[in-house]
């Protein structure tokens, strides 16, 4: 039973990681790629960590895994935000792919960031 759960979580996690990889490869511009990368990347790793936790349910392992998961949850959005900010400000936006752009206007006066 536990083995089955471990297997399921590992498979789901690997699947999410794979979708991150495929998204990175196939999506048309930097921002859509970032959507795929940041979300699936974190989900994939968290699912694998849950699988590992089910396989080794001891306090030493679980505390380490909890810390790894916590650091992922905190750092992945930070990295994604900084990359997105840098990308927008250095002109990596493909305007043809945008319907509305409310940040362009906001950046015109000297930014406060």
């Amino acid at each position: 039973m536990r083995t089955a759960f471990t297997a399921a979580f590992l498979l789901l996690g690997a699947g999410a990681s794979l979708s991150a990889g495929l998204g990175l490869l196939r999506l048309p511009d930097l921002f859509t790629r970032m959507h795929a990368a940041t979300k699936s990347q974190a989900v994939g790793l968290l699912l694998v960590l849950i699988g590992v936790g089910i396989r080794f349910p001891t306090i030493e392992v679980l505390t380490s895994l909890a810390l790894v998961a916590l650091l992922q949850i905190i750092t992945v959005p930070v990295a994604a935000h900084l990359v997105g900010r840098a990308a927008f400000r250095t002109g990596h936006v493909d305007r043809a792919l945008l319907h509305v752009d409310e940040l362009e206007r906001a950046l015109e006066p000297p930014g406060d960031g």
Partner: protein
């Protein structure tokens, strides 16, 4: 939260929440909670706070169990959900790429901590990406995947404001709740 702070000089202070947090991380790092880890963690947390003073963040966080439960459930669901549509899009079901939008969402609360929690959970929400934050009037700038018309843009804005409501109900102080209520009336 002021009463949980021990001041030591003009800039230096030891804050109890930070003390607890640092000690917990220290004990997690050492694999197993023992008395030795607890004590060394506490000593280290005090030394760290004295060595690297941070500007005060003020009493901005309050944990509300019911709101917190609702917030956590929704966040977990979003996190799992967010991998789905993208996987499909990446696997080639996409056809022509849909157009996206960059929108500005003004928040009703001004708390830094609410803003931080929201930015983190937004990056777990399907289809949104935080591009920039304007601190002066607490405005988030988001890249919204697949928002190709005005209706989709309006829906994205409503979703973010719903997230703000959930976040404030989970973590907000009384002032935050009031700011939220005033705006809706």
């Amino acid at each position: 939260m002021r009463e949980f702070t021990v001041r030591a000089g003009r800039r230096r202070a030891i804050r109890l929440p930070a003390l607890v947090w640092l000690t917990v991380v220290w004990m997690l790092l050492w694999d197993r909670p023992t008395v030795g880890n607890l004590l060394s963690g506490l000593v280290l947390a005090v030394l760290l706070q004295l060595a690297f003073p941070l500007p005060p963040v003020g009493p901005q966080l309050r944990l509300r169990p019911l709101g917190l439960a609702a917030f956590a459930l929704r966040a977990a669901a979003d996190l799992l959900h967010s991998a789905g549509p993208l996987a499909w899009q990446a696997a080639g079901g996409r056809g022509r790429a849909k157009r996206n939008s960059v929108i500005a969402v003004p928040l009703r609360t001004r708390s830094d901590l609410i803003l931080t929690v929201m930015a983190i959970s937004l990056s777990a929400t399907p289809g949104t990406l935080v591009l920039d934050v304007r601190h002066s009037d607490a405005t988030l700038f988001l890249h919204v995947l697949g928002a190709a018309d005005d209706a989709a843009v309006a829906k994205a804005r409503r979703d973010v404001q719903a997230l703000e409501r959930r976040t404030v109900r989970a973590f907000g102080t009384r002032d935050d709740l009031r700011a939220l209520a005033e705006d809706r009336s």
